[in-house]
């Protein structure tokens, strides 16, 4: 149980082990640890950024949707207004057309009445002349009486 040259041998072994560990083992392993740490941190940061982007996009989409909704309702109300206008316009037109048609019909009726009156007058005159002719043919000079009849028919 004495201290002897083994001590020196052990110290050499120990020094070699420490040197080897220091040179070839510690740095690469620590590097890989650091690298992984960095990778994980980067990944987490990227995930965070992704989530923020998504939030932003969602907000944007919501805004766009809101805009679209308000625009569409505006368009619908505009269209309704226009439709009402068109209906009113067509009602007006129809009324005007109807009035015009009625007026035309009335005028035609008036004209036909006048025509009929004229015809009637002529026929009555002709009848009266023929009747008078027949009544008076025997005794009255046709030329004198014709003048008289014309006078009467003009008065009608």
């Amino acid at each position: 149980m004495s201290i002897n040259a083994t001590l020196i041998g052990q110290m050499i072994t120990f020094a070699l082990l420490v040197w080897f560990t220091m040179t070839y083992i510690w740095p690469p392993l620590l590097n890989s640890l650091e690298e992984r740490k960095k990778k994980i941190a980067d990944g987490l940061a990227a995930a965070e950024k992704g989530r923020e982007d998504m939030d932003l996009a969602q907000k944007k989409a919501k805004n766009v949707l809101k805009d679209a909704k308000s625009q569409s309702s505006e368009i619908v109300s505009l269209a309704q207004k226009r439709a009402n206008e068109i209906v009113e316009e067509s009602k007006d037109n129809a009324k005007k057309e109807g009035d015009r048609l009625i007026l035309a019909a009335k005028a035609q009726i008036e004209q036909e009445i006048q025509q009929t009156k004229e015809n009637l007058r002529r026929e009555v005159a002709a009848l009266a002349v023929s009747a008078a002719e027949q009544i008076l043919s025997a005794e009255i000079d046709q030329n004198r009486h014709q003048e008289l009849v014309n006078k009467i028919s003009n008065k009608l």
Partner: protein, 258 residues
């Protein structure tokens, strides 16, 4: 379960046989071949494992070997960061080496006491001490190396004059100079001695108890050696941890300028 050759010498012979190292040479130039062999073998295992891990090291998903190696690295790194606040390329790898090497030394204690010596005796090796940390040479080799580093860093960081001032003028000021020196010398020299003897004492005692248990009747042995082995798992880890932490603490003290 004394071997045949020592049955005649009884229990004392058995114990002495187990505690005798395989040596070569005379006087100071004696070499404990078993200590040298097993510590080199265990050091080789340690290097092999961590070198494999270091070669395969990637920042991708780690495999089993890399995972374990990284766990150890992080554990040691945290210990170093906790007590050492300077920057040093040496201290963390040194701590890792100490922890793993001492742990593997101590782990040899968990092999059945007669297993490897029996195999050795078949191969014409008369004596075999399988636990390097029950050899004072092994523990002192580490603690003296650490002590040299303490002295080296003390002088490097504080300068020769700064280190001398610390030895001479602390803790009681310049008027009690001899007393200061004596106190400081004792304090410094106590570091390697306590480091080495603590580890040696614990493992030597543990080994001795395993040997004593092995002397008992065979039906008693499992009942005693199993709990002792379980308890020993704690001790060997704890001793390796203590050695490592104290090394870190001593070296960080050497780095601190008062």
């Amino acid at each position: 379960m004394a071997t045949e050759a020592h049955a005649a010498e009884g229990a004392t012979g058995y114990i002495v046989h187990h505690l005798t190292p395989l040596s070569a040479g005379e006087g100071f130039w004696t070499l404990h071949l078993d200590t040298l062999f097993f510590s080199a073998l265990l050091g080789g295992l340690f290097i092999l494992f961590f070198k494999t891990a270091a070669e395969r090291a990637t920042s991708e998903v780690p495999g089993l070997v890399q995972n374990f190696a990284e766990m150890m690295i992080e554990f040691v790194d945290n210990q170093v960061k906790d007590s050492f606040h300077g920057k040093s390329k040496l201290i963390a790898p040194l701590a890792l080496t100490i922890f793993c090497w001492v742990f593997l030394f101590n782990f040899m204690d968990l092999f059945p006491v007669d297993l490897l010596p029996s195999i050795g005796s078949v191969m014409f090796v008369p004596y075999l001490k399988v636990v390097p940390s029950t050899d004072l040479n092994a523990t002192f080799a580490m603690s003296i190396s650490v002590f040299s580093l303490i002295i080296f860093y003390s002088i490097k960081i504080k300068g020769p004059w700064g280190f001398a001032k610390e030895l001479l003028f602390q803790p009681f000021g310049p008027w009690l100079l001899p007393f200061n020196l004596l106190l400081k010398l004792v304090e410094e020299i106590a570091k390697p001695i306590s480091l080495a003897l603590r580890l040696f004492g614990n493992l030597y005692a543990g080994e001795l108890i395993f040997i004593l248990i092995a002397l008992l009747p065979s039906y008693l042995q499992p009942v005693l050696s199993f709990p002792w082995a379980v308890f020993h798992i704690l001790i060997i880890t704890l001793q390796a941890f203590i050695f490592m932490v104290l090394t870190i603490v001593y070296l960080s003290m050497a780095h601190e300028d008062h």
